[in-house]
């Protein structure tokens, strides 16, 4: 099989990437969370449940 010339090599993606909106455009794509919004309150609530000591307990071995 020759690199680049095989039909199997030229096969297109099975599931093309979705047409993602451009997040930088006004009015489309994901918005940044607004300060004081219910969403932000929900995230703060989730963060307040975190054990403050968990980073001390993590104790991982070095890997690769």
């Amino acid at each position: 099989m020759i690199y680049r010339t095989s039909p199997e090599r030229r096969e297109g993606p099975v599931n093309p990437m979705p047409k993602s909106p451009s997040p930088s455009e006004e009015g489309s794509g994901p918005r940044r969370p607004e300060p004081g919004s219910p969403e932000k309150d929900s995230l703060l609530k989730r963060m307040r449940k975190v054990d403050p000591k968990q980073a001390e307990r993590y104790r991982q071995r070095t890997g690769e």
Binding site: P33, R46, Y58, R59
Partner: protein
């Protein structure tokens, strides 16, 4: 994408909830692996020695043709070979889902959490997220040929980094100076002080060389190990270990997609030149730690330039050559430009797409609400929680729940990828093999197998070859071929 096979290897951290000396992260890693292979029968355990640190039973291939195994005490998942970014993202998320599901099914969820990050803030331990890209054997794998890749990799962290609180000062790192390998601590070099509030990359502090073949203590920007796991006359596998594990699907796709296009530029001899960075390892750390996010680097040409401007030069070269190549290429080019444009403004525009930006926004929001200083240890715990794979706890999933995260694939696609391999690479053929072995009944457990099975195991599976006892070896040297019919024919004779 055209001419590319992608793969990701992820080492997971395990956060043990209660301080019990008999329940170490490694103890849980064994329990999770055993549940997957022996209870859920998600795949088949290796029956042979894959290496000195991979005895029989250490891990195995899954029905999705990926692997789960223990590596230096860490649970590690290697994705199957993927020919599209969609598959690469789906199989990466599938690894997360397989392991999280195993924890819940095994009744361990109250005792341990899976953390998909790369650092331990307290011990400075690091563990990897490795990327694999198949390239032609004609790829110019020389210092000169790899120059553009180094420049690209040093600067891509501005949109691929996962961010972390503080800095690491690993004392066990070794670096190459001239022709000698010396401990970095003896040279006085190393990343910044312990009071650094936040940096954009998890791994930058742990990369100490530009090129090297080791993967521990001497991690390099480009790993030079020559192990193609394919026909060595046709292919080379570019193995990168400087990247962070990404939670955002968008960041994973952009990381793999932009790197794939830059490799294509290098293969075609059209990558931007004259962008060689002075001291790339230091530049990698300087960019990560730059609190002003100006991200300036000095080039050998004497010019000072920002990481964003460097990335734009790579983007423009890729746009000139590859626009219209295929749908995924066009998606990458569009999103690459969008991210670079937004990086010139307020980082909050990138929340949901770029992990360091999402994490920084969460931490800043919490600091503001609770009036905390950056030195507060709670921030390190929140940093970990961003990577928690429990959907009800992880902070990334919190952003997703609030609709702040663009999705590239559906939960259904992830669920399918936990069981099924991509159907346009050799993973398809390997998946058939694993299903056949599972259908034949439970393979003997490695530690309890009979002596003749230890020396002549009933099967041996590796990435590019397998063999069933009594049959000829079945090589699969081309990752772009599925081998599926040949595998079925071969198995019908077994």
């Amino acid at each position: 994408m055209l001419n590319r096979i992608f793969g990701l290897e992820t080492e997971y951290g395990l956060l043990v909830h209660q301080d019990r000396p008999d329940h170490s992260p490694t103890w849980f890693a064994h329990k999770i692996r055993d549940h997957l292979f022996q209870v859920r029968r998600r795949g088949v355990l290796d029956l042979h020695h894959r290496g000195h640190d991979e005895p029989p039973g250490n891990g195995g291939f899954l029905t999705n043709a990926g692997r789960i195994y223990l590596d230096m005490g860490h649970l590690e998942y290697a994705s199957p070979e993927c020919h599209s970014l969609t598959d690469a993202v789906a199989t990466d998320r599938a690894g997360d889902a397989i392991l999280q599901q195993a924890i819940e099914e095994a009744g361990l969820a109250d005792h341990v959490s899976l953390i998909k990050n790369n650092v331990d803030h307290e011990t400075d331990a690091t563990f990897g997220s490795h990327e694999n890209y198949l390239v032609s054997r004609r790829f110019p794998f020389t210092r000169r040929g790899l120059g553009p890749l180094v420049t690209f990799l040093v600067t891509r962290q501005i949109f691929t980094g996962s961010g972390r609180v503080g800095a690491a000062r690993p004392q066990d790192a070794w670096i190459q100076m001239d022709r000698l390998i010396v401990p970095r601590a003896a040279t006085g070099q190393g990343p910044g002080g312990p009071h650094l509030p936040f940096q954009i990359s998890q791994r930058a502090d742990h990369i100490v060389n530009d090129f090297f073949e080791w993967v521990q203590q001497n991690r390099a920007i480009v790993n030079t190990r020559d192990e193609p796991l394919a026909d060595p006359n046709q292919y080379r596998r570019i193995h990168l270990l400087l990247g962070d594990s990404n939670m955002a699907e968008y960041a994973t796709a952009l990381k793999l997609g932009t790197t794939g296009l830059v490799l294509q530029l290098i293969e075609d001899g059209t990558a931007p030149r004259d962008l060689d960075i002075v001291e790339p390892v230091e530049a990698l750390q300087d960019i990560s730690q730059d609190q002003d996010r100006r991200w300036l680097v000095q080039l050998h040409s004497g010019k000072t330039i920002s990481a964003i401007d460097i990335q734009e030069q790579f983007l423009e070269a890729a746009e000139r050559r590859y626009r219209g190549q295929d749908e995924e290429t066009d998606w990458v080019l569009q999103q690459w430009r969008s991210v670079l444009q937004d990086l010139r403004g307020d980082y909050e525009r990138l929340v949901g797409r770029v992990d360091w930006a999402s994490k920084l926004w969460l931490l800043e929001s919490f600091r503001e609400a609770e009036k905390l200083d950056w030195s507060d240890p709670m921030l390190k715990s929140l940093d970990l929680e961003y990577h928690n794979l429990h959907p009800g706890k992880g902070l990334y999933y919190g952003l997703m729940e609030e609709g702040r995260v663009p999705r590239l694939i559906t939960d259904k696609a992830i669920a399918l990828a936990t069981e099924h391999p991509p159907r346009n690479t050799r993973a398809f053929g390997r998946g058939e093999l694993v299903r056949h072995l599972l259908a034949c009944g439970s393979p003997p457990e490695a530690e309890h197998s009979k002596p003749d099975e230890r020396y002549f195991p009933s099967y041996v599976i590796n990435w590019s070859i397998f063999q069933l006892r009594g049959q000829a070896p079945f090589p699969m040297p081309d990752p772009f071929r599925t081998y599926v019919q040949e595998v079925r024919d071969h198995l019908s004779l077994a």
